[in-house]
């Protein structure tokens, strides 16, 4: 527990930046989803780091809730992707308009 918190925060910032870059670069919706997970994990890492630095259990509780929301998000998002595939056999971000009502 002797690694300074700044190291974790820099690591989380880099992970967030990588996730954001991937989200913009990739066109496959599934991989874009994975990049969103990367960004969520970066935020979780900052939460845990601040919980330790500020000696506050609220940070870890927040990570718990982020985990639940991420799980729900994955369930709904993947259902949308499956629905997209039903209409059209492709999974790029440009094919989402196939779901227009």
């Amino acid at each position: 527990m002797t690694v300074p918190g700044a190291w974790y925060l820099v690591l989380a910032a880099v992970l967030f930046g990588l996730g954001a870059t991937g989200l913009l670069i990739r066109r496959n919706v599934l991989v874009m989803f994975m990049c969103v997970e990367l960004m969520l994990n970066a935020v979780n890492l900052t939460f845990v780091t601040f919980a330790r630095l500020l000696n506050d259990v609220g940070g870890q509780a927040s990570v718990f809730f982020v985990l639940v929301v991420a799980a729900a998000e994955v369930v709904v998002g993947l259902a949308i992707i499956v629905a997209m595939f039903r209409r059209r056999a492709a999974a790029t971000a440009d094919d989402i308009h196939a779901l227009k009502g």
């Binding site: 599934l30 929301v69 709904v76 999974a91």
Partner: protein, 211 residues
């Protein structure tokens, strides 16, 4: 916890704990960065999902390094055990891995632009964190974390007392997510054998129109 265990085991004490904490941090950081670059760069979505697992384990290592034992376990169980498996299941189920990178680029300069934007965002975050104090604010608002006692107990007490309402809302959220997943992935039309011939024609005509 690993660092704490090593610290208690070591007779020389602080030096070994220090070194082990750094080792865990560096191994975790290497795993996180390897996995993140893999997710971004690899062509096959299955490989991306496997790289995502490496990143998630790296994050779990960093949690352990900061004594967030429960969250590290949940991270591995929920993320690596459930979320990535669902990802892989959908990839295999839909056969996305065969259809990667088909079709022309929608926007001509998407990749360079995205790269520039991502790097700019990263530099912004680092500069912002550099010009302000790293940690500021009131300590221990929701309860002390670092003192004696089990991490799981503190977290559980906090969630079931102070954060009870958000906790119940997440339960509702999960139910809504499950219901919406069922609704979204349900096939609308009944099987053809249950319909008369005129109904089948009607259905076929209706299918061609976008709903």
């Amino acid at each position: 916890m690993l660092a704490a265990l090593l610290a208690s085991a070591a007779s020389s004490g602080r030096d070994l704990a220090n070194a082990s904490a750094w080792a865990v941090f560096l191994v975790g950081a290497a795993m996180i960065l390897t996995g993140a670059f893999g997710v971004i760069l690899l062509r096959n979505p299955v490989h991306c999902a496997l790289m995502l697992i490496i990143t998630l384990f790296g994050v779990a290592l960093e949690f352990i390094d900061q004594s967030a034992d429960f969250l590290a376990a949940v991270q591995i169980i929920v993320y690596a055990g459930a979320v990535v498996i669902v990802f892989l299941f959908v990839i295999m189920f839909l056969g996305v891995d065969r259809r990667e990178a088909a079709g022309p680029e929608a926007t001509k300069f998407q990749k360079p632009l995205a790269l520039i934007l991502g790097v700019v965002a990263l530099i912004e975050i680092l500069i912002l964190s550099g010009v302000t104090k790293w940690v500021s604010g009131q300590p221990s608002v929701a309860g002390a974390l670092n003192g004696p006692g089990e991490n799981v107990q503190k977290l559980g007490q906090s969630i079931y007392t102070r954060y009870l309402l958000p906790f119940e809302m997440t339960a509702a959220l999960l139910v809504i997510a499950v219901v919406s997943a069922v609704v979204l992935s349900r096939r609308r039309q009944p099987s053809a054998s249950e319909l008369s011939s005129t109904e089948q024609e009607h259905l076929a005509a209706g299918e061609r129109e976008p709903q």
